[in-house]
């Protein structure tokens, strides 16, 4: 069974990798308003990652701080779902990834905010507010693109289909007693939130078929190694340096 430190790593890694991907949009977004909004998302995710990783490192008790955990673990030691590793693709893919992740995180954080463990509850309460904004932002763009031009409709539809197989992993049984929740129970409410956005966007929910799995036990996608190689390169090139 998953212990609390490993669970916190998973929450932190989800947020960290999502932040890394979102920040790839900096200086490349479709318009200035999106530059600002996407940077906001990335900053929120990064803030959550730092809080969870710091907490995980302290519970672990081996002296690893947020940077040791972010920059000095190897690929198979990361506990994030594969969803967050997917390349950004076009803006529609990013919107789909953001919608699916944020809807899950918002439900999860809202429940974790009531956890008995006060520090976990505190981090989650702040994160729940942030992810609520992420859900509205991604829903808004899902609708704009889905109910926009024929081209944007097609791209949004393709994006939803492409990312869908990676959503199942979010609801795998993987939570310690301290979390006080069953991830599988989040899928119903999640389908409601996501279904509402898709419906308004004139899109239909894809069929469930092949489902990605393995991220929580350290098995990641072909893209993740490259993401880490880039992210960790400067830190690792200077052993023991302070930044």
């Amino acid at each position: 069974m998953t212990g609390l430190p490993e669970y916190l790593l998973g929450l932190g890694d989800d947020a960290l990798v999502a932040a890394q991907r979102t920040a790839e949009w900096c200086a490349k977004a479709p318009q200035l308003e999106e530059e600002v909004a996407l940077a906001n998302l990335a900053l929120d995710q990064l803030g959550q990652a730092r809080a969870f990783l710091t907490y995980a490192g302290e519970l672990e008790g081996e002296g690893r701080d947020e940077d040791a955990l972010a920059f000095l673990r190897d690929e198979h030691e990361f506990r994030n779902v594969q969803l967050v590793e997917l390349p950004n693709g076009d803006f529609a893919v990013t919107v789909a990834k953001t919608l699916f992740l944020a809807a899950y995180q918002n439900l999860l954080y809202t429940r974790l905010a009531r956890a008995a463990e006060p520090r976990l509850a505190g981090i989650a309460a702040k994160a729940a507010k942030e992810s609520a904004f992420h859900v509205s932002y991604a829903s808004l763009w899902t609708v704009r693109l889905g109910d926009g031009t024929p081209l944007s409709h097609r791209r949004m539809r393709d994006a939803v289909e492409e990312v869908w197989p990676y959503t199942h992993e979010l609801f795998e049984p993987w939570a310690p007693p301290e979390a006080g929740l069953d991830p599988a129970a989040l899928r119903g409410p999640w389908l409601e939130v996501v279904g509402r956005a898709l419906g308004e966007a004139t899109l239909t929910r894809p069929q469930d078929g092949w489902a990605a799995t393995g991220g929580r036990s350290g098995r990641h996608t072909e893209w993740f190694g490259l993401l880490l190689a880039d992210m960790q390169s400067v830190h690792r090139a200077h052993v023991g340096a302070r930044w």
Binding site: A29, E35, A42, F71, D90, D147, V234
Partner: protein, 308 residues
């Protein structure tokens, strides 16, 4: 309002507002200057954004994302100010993309190492603050008010850049070497940010008369050098100018002026990164076209529904 009312306001050091009458030349000068400022903000995101993915600590990564975000925000804000003068953001972006309007030349230099991220912030944001603090008293009200906010954020960026470098200055030999090399690279481009000497500046005289600008290029450059010297000492770096020394008679530091021929070449498009920076910007804009179009079409559909 009329030309005499306008002149009276300028003479009384009062602000011109967007509804006020203003001479065409004043309006055009302002639009040119504000657009160039806005373009510099959004083009300036690139050399820093390139390092976000590799920032060597999570805290520095957050600071860097926030800085690039501020630049986008400044861009938004400044284009809005230009719009108060009748310009449209879209047209200004076209002018940028087609090379008809310029941006600050330092952006055409590469950020080769992590230390460059710090040096760029310390020196070029430092120079920007010196420039813009003086511009806050510009005669056009909306621009002056925008600048007050922008200055506050820029000076925060400047301090964060200094802090990044300060950490390197107490770091490993490799970190300290990269610090010195980055400062060597960024000193000249930062000095050049104040533009050509007043004697060679094409727009300075009229801008000063209209109080769009409030101080000359040479005066501001001197102020910047005088500010940098003690900060460089605190960092333990050498500013790359053998002629740099305190001149007790002038009460200022003597220094070698930047190479204006190089500045003019880079402004004309022949710098290390001009092509790439502009190509990157154009590509992002083109790749975003379908997204902007979708949003416009969707908004029109919503409006039609509400009207029905």
């Amino acid at each position: 309002m009329s030309i005499s009312a306008f002149d009276a306001l300028i003479a009384a050091d009062q602000k011109i507002e967007n509804k006020d009458w203003m001479p065409d030349g004043y309006r055009e000068s302002l639009i040119r200057q504000i657009a160039q400022h806005a373009h510099s903000e959004i083009m300036g995101m690139q050399p820093e954004a390139a390092w976000i993915s590799r920032a060597p600590s999570l805290a520095r990564k957050a600071v860097l994302i926030a800085k690039v975000q501020d630049e986008a925000g400044h861009g938004l804000y400044l284009y809005a100010v230009a719009e108060t003068l009748g310009a449209r953001r879209e047209d200004l972006l076209d002018a940028l993309h087609e090379g008809r309007q310029k941006y600050l030349s330092f952006i055409n230099y590469p950020t080769l190492t992590w230390a460059d991220v710090g040096a760029l912030a310390w020196l070029t944001d430092g120079a920007a603050v010196v420039n813009q603090v003086s511009l806050c008293r510009t005669s056009y009200g909306p621009y002056g008010r925008a600048l007050v906010r922008i200055c506050r954020e820029e000076s925060f960026h400047h301090r964060q850049g200094f802090d990044l470098l300060h950490t390197l200055s107490r770091g490993t030999p490799a970190q300290r070497r990269s610090l010195q090399e980055a400062v060597d690279r960024w000193w000249q481009p930062a000095l050049a940010m104040f533009g050509p000497p007043d004697s060679r500046s094409t727009h300075s005289a009229s801008s000063m008369a209209w109080r769009i600008k409030r101080a000359g290029n040479d005066e501001l450059r001197q102020r910047f050098v005088d500010l940098c010297v003690p900060q460089a000492e605190a960092l333990g770096v050498r500013l790359p100018d053998p002629a740099l020394r305190w001149n007790p008679e002038r009460g200022h530091h003597d220094f070698t002026p930047p190479d204006y021929d190089e500045l003019m070449r880079v402004v004309a498009g022949h710098g290390p990164r001009n092509r790439q920076r502009l190509a990157h910007r154009r590509r992002a804009h083109e790749e975003g076209a379908w997204v902007r179009e979708a949003a416009a079409v969707h908004a029109a559909k919503q409006a039609a529904k509400q009207a029905a």
